[in-house]
Amino acid sequence: MTAAATRSTAHSIVEASPRAKAFAGGLVILYAVITILPLLWIVATAFKSQSDAIAYPPKVIFEPTLEGYVNLFTVRTRQTPDFIAKLPPPATWYDKLVREHDMVIAGPSKVVPRFVNSLIIGFGSTFLAVFLGTLAAYAFSRFRIPLADDLLFFILSTRMMPPVAVAIPIYLMYRQLNLTDTRLGMILLYTAVNVSLAVWLLKGFIDEIPREYEEAALVDGYTRLQALRKVVLPQAVTGIAATAIFCLIFSWNEYAFAVLLTSGEAQTMPPFIPFIIGEGGQDWPAVAAATTLFVVPIVMFTVLLRKHLLRGITFGAVRK
């Protein structure tokens, strides 16, 4: 607190000179541009044709096509030109695009169900984790709980465990309970991982809300639960939203559990994307298209979360 107050009245002594600023800015922008290039390359690859994507030397300038996206959403079969010539004219632009390569669309690919799985498992586990986390965080913040520090450490330590090691007994347990490769199983697992982050983050946010408000409400005859619902929660909304986004990002990005515990029904996007295969190996434009679609929400969330990012990645210890 004092640090913040002092800083705002700072003298210009410590302010960097314009030349130093320009130098620093130049270096940072250079780094930022280099670091973003791989992502831009992927976004561009999604608009390349199959042959442009694997051209040597790699092509920077190319004729954009939506082939990658069409391939991502469809399954195609190769046909003879004669067969295609006999077909009725293509009904849609993507039919036409596919036929140019002597193929016909045989049906939708699995990408939509996988995307839906990612959404259901992501939102399901986020909702549960934030719900449980809010209750627990409120209790840890406001009540005296015996061994509170030990419990909090226990909660955090479950998140630190290597996922591959955790997956071994979970695999056995889920096999017994028929939860292998089910959305429910993945939701429960991700909730358990996320709830630790939710408790730690939300405790920090709720600690910041002055107790006097709810105490006034209690004196006015509210019950604890009413005070929580009508006084504390409305003030914690930003914190809860930020926490929810962090949980969602984790579930969205998670790979180790997903690849070890799901194979079809409940498979999410991360284990699916690398195995988008075309004729002769990975279909790079389609993989890049999937990656782009998968990453766009994350980029948006990062911008939204900018102010709370530091808190999220340090379990609420460092605020900004």
Binding site: T6, P38, P162, V219, V318
Partner: protein
Amino acid sequence: MTTILQPDHATIPGVNKPVKSRAARRVHGLSDRTIAWLFVAPTIALLLAINIFPLIWMIRLSFTNLNLSMSYLPLRFVGLDNFRDILTDEDVWFRLQTTAQFVICSVALQVVVGFGLALLINRQFRGHSFWTTVILLPMMLSPAVVGNFWTLLLQPQIGPFNYLISLFTGVPPSSFSMTGQVSLAPWTIVLVDTWMWAPYVMLICLAGLRSIPDYIYEAAEVDRASAWRQFWSITLPMTVPFLMLAVLFRAIENFKMFDMVNLLTSGGPGSTTELVSISLKRAAFEKWRTGYSSALAIILFVTVFGAANIYVKTLNKVKQR
């Protein structure tokens, strides 16, 4: 502006207590004690069911010869045999060594790059906020997806990485393979990991730098301390707790690294980049040696648990700043 959590623990006795207990007496409905337990219990129950129960089960399995691909074998308790096998196995030590090298190199590189960037960004040039967000993007992505698309970027012929290197050095692009060569693959995983996580160290260091009150620098100016001296006696020591936090967290995360490396090199070529998590996955989910891999998992647990303990202590120290 940065503020660090005050050491206010919600349970600090005294502060609001008299008011609270007076209020509590008037409250209708459930008592505070009941509510506290009702609120904490579901979380603890979930963690017990999904984390602790399986963990105990795994401890039991680690003393058995269970092999899921040969489940016709009678389940036998073998005592500490699995642990003895692991600790005397040269391959396991080699994996641990590979993992240690990866952790040390990547965290060191991330600290250098991250701290450097933080120092530069802290000069608050115009537009620093926008560029900081751009730099932060890699760390928000899915490690699996990152590992996967870097395999394209690093393809010897069709990937742009080798091509760029050859533009600057003149080495033919198809003459080396970042993921396929024993001498390069370990550096490749370090490089991609740094690309992804240097921003993490940067963000935390930035918070550390911003927590240093300006008057300290002003005092140093008055005393005519050189910029060099100011860095070594003010900037660095005051950022170290934050840096420690970042280093510990990255070390823990990289020790258990699986996703990114599994997709980038899947442990290869040969077993040059086979980190201990990847080796564990092979033992548990390819060879199905459940008893053996449970024992290895427990060894990893104990290591991470110890590190997590130190992490939380550091975290609390940073909080108290």
